[in-house]
């Protein structure tokens, strides 16, 4: 059975004045996944999210959510009916109280989950009568999450959900997200440049840089494909022997050659044997290393 795709972008372009924010970004987010959208500041994460939710217009290419065109006005309303969104600023209405924010939001979503609203109101310890402007950043994030998680949405889009939170609050927010996704079976698409948190909860990722996807896939598959191979030679390590497809980076240091493989380690090991390496070690690579190497390769 074909994998169901909730979010898809194909060759997406966006330009702001003289700046290319997106340069042919392609992306596929499987249904039911927790999808981490990684990139440096200014890589195009927020722009992509805004296009998906109809807040910005694409300059070219295609963006669909639930198979609906994101730049079609009527379809965009339907997309937002089925999607919850938390912006990086957690911008809510400062003049409203927590209870008013809940009442305001609930009015737009016929599938609003009163049970979840009450549950998160209790577990997040949100004071219903307090004005939004009087909430701390952490409480504001929790309120934004409550408003998103209670919508009965099929897709939750989060832009830097833990930005500005302390580690304890970050952990609480991430646990709430994972627990909710497991219980409700929704798709979570979240952008971040906090690699540790993406690694903690995501099951698929896309790394983007300068408006293009440079690495994408299931996290386990990426970890399988990306390997660091350390080869030690009797004399000086050979030059140029490993510059081939499937190799992201080669570092020579005397007799030691370190190769970052992007398509498994087997071909590297075969080549090492042929060059009579005296020892060969294959080391798993963390997502942080994948990110840093991928981004560095673009520079």
């Amino acid at each position: 059975m074909a994998e169901s795709i909730v979010v898809e972008t194909v060759e997406l372009h966006k330009r702001y004045g003289a700046v290319d924010a997106l340069c042919g970004l392609s992306l596929r987010v499987p249904a039911g996944s927790i999808f981490g959208f990684l990139g440096r500041n200014g890589a195009g994460k927020t722009t992509t999210i805004k296009i998906l939710l109809g807040m910005a217009h694409p300059g070219g290419g295609r963006a669909t959510v639930f198979g609906l065109a994101a730049d079609d006005r009527a379809a965009s309303v339907e997309i937002r009916r089925r999607t919850a969104f938390v912006s990086d600023e957690k911008d809510l209405y400062d003049g409203m109280t927590v209870a008013e924010m809940i009442r305001f939001t609930a009015g737009f979503f016929p599938r609003w989950r009163g049970d979840l609203e009450q549950r998160y109101l209790r577990s997040f310890e949100l004071p219903p009568d307090r004005k939004v402007k009087a909430l701390s950043r952490g409480m504001r994030t929790k309120l934004a999450l409550l408003l998103s998680l209670s919508r009965g949405a099929e897709l939750l889009v989060l832009d830097e959900p833990t930005a500005g939170l302390d580690p304890a609050m970050t952990e609480e927010v991430l646990q709430a997200l994972v627990g909710h996704a497991a219980r409700e079976g929704m798709t979570i698409f979240f952008s971040s440049h906090q690699i540790a948190e993406v690694e903690q909860i995501a099951d698929a990722v896309a790394i983007i840089d300068r408006g293009r996807t440079i690495v994408a896939g299931a996290l386990d598959e990426l970890r399988e494909k990306f390997r660091r191979v350390q080869l030690v030679f009797a004399g000086d390590a050979p030059e140029g022997a490993f510059d081939s497809p499937g190799v992201a980076r080669v570092r020579r240091n005397g007799r030691v050659l370190t190769v970052l493989a992007t398509a498994g380690a087997e071909s590297i090991l075969d080549r090492g044997r042929a060059l009579q390496a005296v020892s060969m070690d294959v080391v798993p690579v963390t997502l942080k290393e994948i990110f840093l190497e991928s981004v560095a390769a673009e520079d």
Binding site: M55, V77, R80, R81, F85, S87, L92, Y93
Partner: protein
């Protein structure tokens, strides 16, 4: 709930406009006895020039309370204050909200046209209420200075004020979909009003077609006929400005 949000966003400007116009209307009514006392001091002879003509016209009209109210308030004071109130209510909105909830609003399953329509309808309703409240004060307070003022006259003048004020409201509203601060739409619209008023003064032939002539209900005061053409033209310009606002907002990136 969009209506409630629009009300929360505009309530202070509504109350400022209401307060300004109400105090102004009340002040004009209560000043009448002193104006009547001063009338004999106005020279009967021709002092010449535009200023002299205006003083004589003011003195002539002020012999009756209805004439005094029209000249002092609907013709002189209200156009300035009413324009400011209209512009105040027209500014703000989604673009100026910035990080105070604009993205949250846009994440709701509502079209931008509907968001804009609700905001415009709320502002225009408030504008209508301010006009109505201010003009109704005139017949209500008139007995306090021993005079009478017809409710029908007050309502018709309120309608004229509303129709003309809606033009400035919609111009400020349109500019608010272009600028992401509240000041530029406010200042540009007020500058446009000043330019229009100056043109009216310089080119006297334009006065019958001026938005301020519609605002003061000049035709109704002088002939008893409603300025249907002026009201219709104001409504047409307002509708056109609102249409451009919807196109502007639909094209905008946030």
């Amino acid at each position: 709930m969009l209506w409630y949000k629009a009300w929360l966003d505009t309530r202070w400007r509504f109350l400022i406009g209401l307060g300004l116009l109400a105090i102004s209307a009340a002040g004009i009514v209560f000043a009448y006895p002193r104006v009547v006392a001063l009338l004999p001091l106005v020279p009967a002879s021709d002092t010449g020039g535009e200023l002299g003509r205006r003083i004589r016209e003011a003195a002539l009209l002020s012999r009756e309370f209805r004439g005094y109210i029209w000249w002092q308030w609907f013709h002189q004071t209200a156009p300035q204050e009413w324009t400011i109130a209209s512009v105040l209510l027209g500014t703000g909105g989604l673009v100026a909200q910035g990080s105070s909830g604009a993205l949250f609003t846009l994440s709701m399953p509502v079209s931008r046209t509907r968001l804009l329509a609700v905001r415009a309808a709320t502002g225009l309703a408030e504008l209508f209420l301010v006009a109505l409240a201010a003009v109704v004060l005139l017949p209500l307070l008139a007995p306090a200075v021993g005079e009478r003022y017809a409710f029908a006259d007050a309502i018709v003048h309120g309608l004229c004020m509303f129709a003309a004020g809606a033009v400035f409201f919609n111009l400020a509203f349109l500019l608010s979909t272009s600028f992401d601060d509240g000041w530029r739409p406010l200042l540009i619209t007020l500058a446009a009003a000043v330019v229009l008023a100056t043109c009216e003064q310089v080119f006297r032939g334009l006065e019958p077609y001026s938005v301020f002539t519609v605002m003061s209900g000049d035709l109704y005061f002088r002939t008893g006929h409603l300025p249907w053409l002026g009201i219709a033209a104001s409504a047409g310009v307002s509708a056109a400005l609102f249409s451009i606002s919807t196109v502007n907002l639909a094209r905008r990136d946030f």
